[in-house]
Subunit: 436 residues, 2 copies
């Protein structure tokens, strides 16, 4: 068994093998589900008191009240000021680029007036208050704070409340610094299902939010699914994925490292390369073997590549695009000379990186677009996190007296047809000619 | 006990009473959940065979194969041609207006080029295939077919597949006619959880869709929740709601009928009126009593108004807007002379009807905006169904060689900070100055 799976689109069982390779089902753990249901119920009933008790129990914090768990914004500013200059500058440069890109996503309200004076349109408004979950410990990424908080602020959300657990009271200075750079409005040192519950239902000290975003462990994911409807949530993400279409002209070492950069996230992460040139696939495989040993996260990378990775020989680049549309990958690198032509053939992908200089890692941190992207083939129907996820729309309908004459006749016909007589009468009342 | 609840915003317990009035929790029935889980599993495993068997069992159809359950598009055209002329014209006029409005929602792809040649943007594409669920029996509304199918076709979805059960083989000609008008691409006479499963997983005769929209009973709602992630779904709607802000200048009979037009949907539907003028509230209450007897659906209306309806006296119209933002109603009628001023104070509502001629019934059928709207306070974070629900976005990132020099330094700094060395190395490979 090699370091990574090898497939060819000419194999008889190719479609079946590809489907098997892509298959991923998130399982739900009954013990977690039941624990989360209890935590949600308790926080809903007892508010702050329950949140403090769970934080003492799970995070081993000393806090006696919610006030003790509030992280002053001044502490975030101090964390930022304390960073090494290069790190601080990188964080600020990344934030500026992310902000500039997301400004392009702001959608304006619109309306139009018809000949009879009737006005129709759509009013676009930001949400009032958004909760941002940031995991504690190893999985706490400052870049993730930027990617979640900045679109909300660009959308015009008045209050972005960040929650992040501090096990044994240990704060993560990089995460606090990122909160300062992103313009987070409030930081509370709570986590787990109890933090999700506090945001979703509100407590004495925490106002109910309209939406909760950000990654978390199985408890957090379960809690988010359960509070959906009371508040909005972002997608519950599956393992990260990269798909690369190569014409064989990008240095093999670059492509091997791009595959690593996805595989190093998680043993379940998926890295796949499509190329018509078998010799190039050999070169990438050789590069994988050569470079793997030097990588600090080599065990995770090796497991990911062996179980879920693949080098796939395709007939040509057109077929590569068809396969890419089937896979609908989170990250798609088109590392070819004619990337601009191929991109027109791509219908489904979370983010598309064009040309050999566009490594996924540049997009993850600082190119500008969001790194929160649809996984597990959901790019068929969903989109990168964006400003639009923090805005919502209201239809605007101002029917003129004259307009009501035309619309009323249509509406009453259809309403009587559906057996909804009050609807019909309500339309008829607006008809000048009708007996009221 | 009166025909409808009376409240005043000056009451000591007003906020608590209002919260109680609004409270609605959808309960999940264990028997339904378990039945649906079985149906999904069987259809996933046995495909068409299971769908046909369930259709025989639940819908009492004679069909022996999926081919027997296919409804030819010619049958839909024939159903349309067979309608009375006024009904057919009303349906076509409504469809034309809905189409014209939704054309305004089409969002274009965009990109911009930075000074160093780096191109960033977002590509917007339609979904490939969408499933539209239409209930059988009494709850089958042709207007609902238009409201769900037209935005999908405007978005550019290639194939809209409508499923609708035909108990004992009985087809609903109005629904088939609406499918013809809306441009539905395929109609299959199946329903329930088995239809949702067929669309979500695909079978021998039905290709997997990307998203499923449309209303349904508890089995359908449960099935949709369960397949979410495999496909996209629209919101699972709660009972319908209307909130009216009145200045007392609209005829009381009109407003009473507007309240009826919501209440007649369902005993759980909610109709609330806010007005500063107590005498006007009295007049509306008197009109309710006077008009109720003549309504064919009077029992449903009476129950809805008594349990969930309210006439609320407010201090002034500004306070009415504040309360409206808290309620975040599905339908908000601003039946005042200064509706255009008040609308600026509204942050949360599914659809806003401005002025005394804009009855909700006109919007339900033919004004143009969608009648699929967020309920149960979800207008705080969600939007009317629209073209945007059938499109998705892909980020575009084309980093120039020069751009990679700037971005690479930022990315590697942050990647090393997060302990993701392959990300850092991948960025470093694109730096001209780096040792590769």
């Amino acid at each position: 068994m090699g370091v990574i799976n090898r497939l060819s689109s000419k194999d008889t069982d190719f479609q079946q093998d590809l489907t098997t390779l892509l298959a991923f089902e998130s399982s739900q753990d009954e013990a977690i589900e039941s624990a989360v249901a209890t935590i949600l119920r308790e926080v809903r009933r007892s508010g702050d008191k329950a949140v403090v008790a769970y934080s003492q129990q799970f995070d081993k914090v000393q806090a006696q009240s919610m006030a003790d768990l509030e992280v002053p914004l001044a502490d975030c500013q101090m964390a930022l000021a304390s960073l090494p200059a290069t790190q601080r500058q990188a964080l600020e440069a990344a934030a500026a680029r992310v902000r500039a890109y997301h400004e392009h996503q702001k959608a304006p309200s619109w309306s139009y007036t018809e000949a009879d004076g009737t006005v129709l349109g759509q009013k676009i408004t930001p949400m009032d208050r958004v909760g941002l979950y940031v995991p504690g410990g190893k999985a706490a990424y400052p870049s993730s704070v930027l990617m979640n908080a900045i679109p909300a602020k660009v959308a015009g959300v008045s209050e972005v409340v960040m929650v992040t657990p501090t096990p044994h009271g240990q704060r993560n200075p990089l995460v606090l610094a990122a909160a300062a750079v992103a313009g987070v409005d409030r930081v509370i040192a709570i986590g787990g299902a109890q933090a999700v519950a506090a945001l979703a239902y509100g407590t004495e000290s925490i106002a109910q939010v309209d939406k909760i975003v950000g990654p978390g462990n199985a408890f957090v994911a379960s809690a988010k699914r359960r509070v959906f409807g009371t508040v909005g949530i972002d997608m519950v993400a599956g393992p990260s994925e990269i798909l690369i279409i190569a014409d064989g002209k990008t240095p093999a070492d670059w492509i091997a490292m791009d595959l690593f950069s996805q595989a190093e996230h998680d043993e379940l992460a998926q890295a796949i390369l499509l190329c018509p040139d078998a010799a190039y696939l050999d070169a990438v495989e050789a590069s994988i073997i050569r470079q793997l040993e030097a990588m600090p996260r080599k065990d995770i990378i090796a497991t990911s590549l062996q179980n879920r990775g693949a080098l796939i020989q395709v007939r040509d680049l057109d077929e590569a695009c068809e396969i890419a549309n089937f896979i609908a990958a989170e990250h798609l690198e088109i590392s070819t000379e004619n990337a601009a032509e191929l991109v027109d053939k791509i219908r489904h992908a979370g983010a598309i990186f064009m040309g050999s200089y566009s490594s996924e890692s540049l997009g993850d941190y600082c190119a500008g677009p969001n790194h929160v992207l649809p996984t597990s083939r959901t790019a068929r129907f969903s989109s990168p996190l964006g400003v639009y996820d923090f805005q919502k729309r209201s239809s605007l309908i101002q029917v003129s007296q004259q307009g009501a004459q035309t619309l009323g006749l249509i509406a009453k016909e259809l309403a009587y047809g559906e057996g909804l007589q009050s609807h019909a009468r309500s339309a008829e009342y607006r008809l000048d000619s009708m007996e009221k």
